[in-house]
């Protein structure tokens, strides 16, 4: 190489770099370049999910997937307990977007403003997620809250006045969290070891916590101002001798608290029909008869409850730990209870044979329930009293089970 050529090399390199800089396209953080153009892989039908993937005629691109109509947007989010993820699903129960990896054992959701918080049972943490143009993503400040301890078992999270209330079954307490405070865990209301707190509901300045532990069978009343336990409402007298009430989920309508009772025997088998206890929130005493409300022979082990107007919908279904076939599920149903009148009225049950519906939410008038046996989500039409769609939202890891402990409506 002659000396003249050698001197030209750096000049040529500089020119080529300048040319490259001139050709560079600057895109927004949500965009990438495909064919030299900025585009969003989340929504561009010509580059859906990846550059060059074109959606078919009539299809849209949403969250990086080609889709049509309702399937383009998540209607509901499912907590996939066994795969440690949160998965969105369309109203047709088709998974939408990629699963969001969270900590160990996601078990319960609560919206706090634009953030969807999930309580992770086995890691004793809460993760915050936000809906973005590219789907649900971990986000927020902070995006994670840790609850201290040496044993870990969160069961439920609920939001009230921007605070998160968490049932900590490992300790037997209600943990009060302000996610933006430092430190975020503000207080803890103890109920006692093995009290196994479950569902939480609010009325006025009170929080009600279902104490599901054997020997407790009660509802704790917590003063939200003083953050102290003010009373426990004994439910053990509502079941037959030898049975355990085992309160689980609750809703408040008017001045009544409705509490699902598993009503199981000492071996965790049904001791009778599923029951609904009624508490007068003005006195924090059991409401007068009929109490408990018998949910009928079609309902065993009631697992969830949600309000739609003046009707409380209760989901039911029992299976033993040894069950391997959906046919072994008994008492599976959606049971409506009209709570709008002076006396609650149980309507005819909509059977859900072969499933074990647990968590239930109503999103834009549609009911969604997580199947505790399969990882499927069921769409339930309360008008026609029928299951109108079913889809696998939380696939199981090979050789293991799948379990959906909670659902949340998309915003």
């Amino acid at each position: 190489m002659s000396a003249r050529i050698a001197r030209l090399v750096p000049v040529l390199l500089l020119l080529s770099l300048l040319a490259a800089c001139k050709a560079e396209v600057v895109c927004t953080t949500q965009q990438v370049t495909c064919g030299g153009q900025c585009t969003s892989l989340a929504s561009d039908p010509a580059n859906c999910g990846t550059c060059g993937r074109t959606c078919a005629a009539g299809e849209s691109c949403a969250l990086g997937l080609c889709c049509t109509g309702e399937n383009c947007f998540p209607a509901v989010y499912a907590a996939c307990f066994n795969t440690d993820s949160v998965q969105g699903a369309s109203s047709l129960l088709v998974p939408v977007g990629a699963p969001v990896a969270v900590d160990d054992g996601p078990i319960s959701f609560a919206w706090r403003g634009p953030s969807l918080w999930v309580a992770n049972s086995l890691s004793s943490t809460l993760d915050s997620m936000k809906e973005t143009p590219v789907g649900l993503q971990i986000g927020g400040t902070p995006s994670k809250v840790k609850i201290d301890g040496t044993k870990f078992d969160l069961e439920y999270v609920a939001e009230r006045d921007a605070l998160l209330y968490v049932s900590n079954a490992a300790v037997g307490s209600l943990v009060i969290i302000d996610p933006v405070a430092t430190p975020p865990v503000l207080a803890e209301v103890p109920f006692g070891g093995f009290s196994f707190p479950q569902g939480i509901a609010f009325s006025g300045n009170k929080a009600y916590v279902a104490l599901n532990g054997f020997g407790f069978n009660s509802v704790a009343v917590v003063d939200l101002v003083t953050r102290t336990l003010t009373k426990t409402i004994d439910l053990s007298g509502l079941v037959a001798p030898g049975a355990n009430a085992l309160p689980a989920r609750m809703v408040v309508y008017g001045n009544r608290l409705y509490v699902t009772l598993w009503n199981l025997d000492a071996n965790y088998f049904p001791a009778g029909n599923g029951l609904l206890a009624v508490v007068d929130t003005s006195t924090d005493r059991l409401a007068p008869a009929p109490n408990p409300i018998d949910l009928g022979v079609s309902c065993k082990n009631p697992g969830g409850i949600a309000l739609l107007g003046g009707t409380a919908w209760v989901t039911c279904g029992f299976f033993a730990f040894t069950a391997t076939n959906p046919a072994e599920i008994e008492g599976a149903a959606f049971v409506p209870v009209d709570v709008s009148g002076a006396i609650p009225a149980v309507g005819p049950a909509a059977l859900a044979t072969g499933t074990a519906p647990g968590p239930i939410v109503f999103c834009n008038g549609k009911g969604y329930a997580g199947d505790r046996f399969s990882g499927d989500v069921l769409r339930f039409d309360p008008t026609t009293m029928s299951i109108t769609a079913r889809g696998l939202v939380c696939p199981a890891i090979a050789g293991m089970s799948s379990y959906i402990p909670d659902l949340a409506c998309a915003q």
Binding site: A101, D103, D104, S123, D148, K151, V185, E188, R372
Partner: protein
């Protein structure tokens, strides 16, 4: 000893089960007139080139230390305690599970088919003569199950004319007593030892008012339902009619303890009780020059009843019986000391939780101990095949040691072991727990190496190790939602450093002795469920250290020791951790009479009175504990 013998400080006679024969000129293989020094020793008798520490109980006389506490003075060992005196404690070696440590009492395996590791608190404190801790995949020497290593607890020797009695009393209603006596003649000796101990366990501790809230104020509580009591009877003897030798041991122990639970979920009415009867009889005879045969018969019967009070509780009863026979041969020819053996045993475990099951074991092994170049190089290969029920596996070990210069030598070894699934993992049906009869054995591969100094200044070693754990059994989500099923899902690695130093170099300064052991342990999950790969294994502290200094100028002595356990994760996600802890103990003794020897000793455990101490499972550990021991016995053999 063949390689760089430790200095003789005190001579005694010890009879060790499971010990292999030594070289020509020694007594018959099972009769080992050995030197005993009041410092940790190596190598272990079973595996001559292993990473091993021998902890002499005599060094801790009057300190009421259990097997777990003695073993924890060795590097590589991590104790998992569930409370104070009398409460369950298990061991982990180099990051293993408790089930991956083989524990033997006078050579009799204590691991039951139930699995879960051996509760070391069931071995009466006063029985212990020494604890041999062998680190590494030791299945070739100790049988299936020794993934992380093995611990052989050797009980008091039978020495004619030796006798003693000891009484201890102290904090939290702790009382302990032992009496032992040896009788015999030229050809026989018999030891009879009886022990008993109890404690109310009602120590104060500090616990957060709100355990979920960071920096929560602490409140003092008194530990409730934490009492324990234990008794034991040990009979041990030897008989040497001519060239034959017969050894026998019978052990009977019984214990009861309350189960207090963790502070946030106390269990005020739970308890457990159990006992163990075990025995072994061994006959040996030298048949020809350098060739010796042995035959051993041993058996064990255990009872364990656990009561968890309602609501939600229940009772679990377990009965375990095991018996077997073993034949061994030792042949010394030139530089080779060849050993071979075979055994057959049967174990039956009847449990209300996992049913009634039996499992036979057949095993055969061969091991050599080659000494070359006038003790300059030592090579010890070993291989063993175990058939434990349907699980057939091979364990192998290759070790070597070489003298480098003067007191300096190097040692290294590599091994493989397997652990068959336990009956609990295979058959347990309880609540949400499913059985899994399709489990495979766990496997461990280990390598280690160390630089060793054994000379006038004492003994020191510094080395590294690595272990690959494969097909580890963990409970994962079962087939049915809400259930858990054991699966071979986990692969993990351990790597670290082990440093050990014992010195009596400054004995002229009031008999000053020092001991230090340090372990650095890094573990990593290589395969598992999403979210745990790359994490450290929980309940494995990364750093652990033990240091002790003692003086013994004559009629009195004193010691000071510290045990440091570094931060450890509590969960597989490595989100929660237990803080590091430092426990300081101190003690002193005075010799009041020399013949008979009468001593009074005082020991203060947890001298700094740290009331926030807890184990990796959230169980509080005792606050400052003061113990006073008065002992009387035959004078030491080297007393004037």
């Amino acid at each position: 000893m063949r390689l760089a013998p430790a200095r003789t400080v005190l001579a005694a006679l010890a009879v060790t089960w499971g010990r292999m024969a030594l070289g020509a000129g020694d007594p018959p293989p099972v009769v080992l007139d050995e030197v005993v020094i009041p410092l940790p020793r190596a190598p272990a008798p079973q595996d001559p080139t292993a990473a091993a520490t021998v902890v002499e109980a005599e060094r801790f006389a009057g300190e009421l230390k259990g097997v777990a506490e003695l073993a924890a003075t060795a590097p590589g060992v991590s104790v998992r305690s569930y409370g104070g005196l009398g409460q369950m404690s298990t061991l982990s070696i180099r990051g293993s599970n408790a089930a991956g440590v083989r524990v033997l009492l006078d050579g009799i395996p204590l691991d039951t088919a139930a699995g879960g590791g051996v509760d070391l608190s069931t071995i009466p404190l006063h029985w212990v003569d020494r604890v041999e801790v062998v680190r590494g995949a030791e299945g070739a020497y100790f049988g299936a199950g020794a993934l992380g290593g093995a611990v052989n607890v050797v009980t008091l020797p039978a020495v004619a004319g030796k006798w003693g009695a000891e009484l201890t009393g102290g904090s939290f209603g702790t009382v302990s007593a032992v009496a032992d006596a040896g009788v015999g003649g030229d050809r026989w000796a018999l030891l009879l030892a009886a022990t008993g101990s109890s404690t109310t366990g009602d120590f104060p501790f500090l616990t957060p008012i709100s355990p979920s809230v960071p920096q929560s104020p602490l409140v003092e509580q008194i530990r409730q339902n934490d009492a324990a009591a234990q008794g034991g009877l040990l009979v041990k003897g030897r008989f040497t009619p001519g060239p034959d030798r017969v050894d026998g041991v019978a052990q009977l122990s019984w214990g009861w303890r309350q189960l207090p639970g963790v502070p946030s979920a106390p269990t005020p009415d739970d308890w457990q009780r159990g006992g163990r009867a075990s025995g072994a009889l061994r006959w040996s005879r030298p048949l020809a020059s350098g060739f010796t045969v042995e035959a051993i018969a041993s058996g064990r019967y255990e009872v364990l009843d656990v009561y968890a009070a309602p609501p939600g509780g229940g009772a679990t009863d377990q009965r375990d019986a095991a018996g077997g026979a073993e034949a061994r041969a030792t042949w010394e020819a030139g530089p080779s000391l060849l050993k071979a053996g075979a055994l057959a045993s049967l174990e039956r475990l009847d449990s209300t939780a996992s049913g009634d099951h039996r499992r036979p074991t057949l095993a055969a092994w061969v091991a050599d101990d080659l000494t070359l170049g006038e003790d300059a190089v030592r090579i010890s290969p070993a291989v063993r095949v175990d058939a434990v029920g349907p699980y057939v596996g091979t364990s192998a070990k290759l070790g070597g040691a070489a003298r480098v210069s003067g007191p300096w030598s190097i040692r290294a070894s590599a091994g493989r072991s397997f652990r068959p699934p336990s009956f609990s993992e295979l058959y347990l049906v309880q609540g949400p727990f499913e059985p899994n009869p399709d489990l495979r054995p766990e496997v461990a591969w280990s390598v280690d190496g160390a630089l060793v100094y054994d000379g006038p200044l004492g003994r020191a070693s510094a080395g590294g190790f690595g272990v690959l754990w494969d097909d580890l059994i963990v409970y994962e989500a079962g087939r049915v939602p809400g259930t858990f099923k054991p699966q071979n899902t986990l692969r993990a690695s351990s790597a670290g450093l082990e440093v050990e130093l014992v010195t009596a170099a400054a004995r002229s300064l009031w008999g000053l002795q020092g001991q230090l052991s340090y372990t650095f342990l890094a573990t990593e999950v290589l395969r598992g469920v999403p979210g745990v790969v790359g994490n450290a294994l929980p309940q494995r502290p990364r750093n652990r250290a033990f240091a002790r200094a003692s003086i013994d100028p004559g009629p009195a002595g004193a010691h000071l020791e510290a045990q440091y356990v570094g931060l450890q994760y509590l969960d597989s996600r490595n989100i929660h951790s237990a803080p590091a802890s430092l426990v300081v103990n101190a003690g002193a003794f005075a010799r009041i009479l020399r013949s008979p020897e009468v001593r009074i000793a005082a020991e203060v455990k947890n001298l700094l009175d740290d009331r926030t101490l807890q184990d990796g499972f959230g169980y509080p550990l005792p606050s400052r504990t003061v113990l006073v021991t008065v002992s009387v016995g035959s004078p030491p053999e080297n007393s004037p």
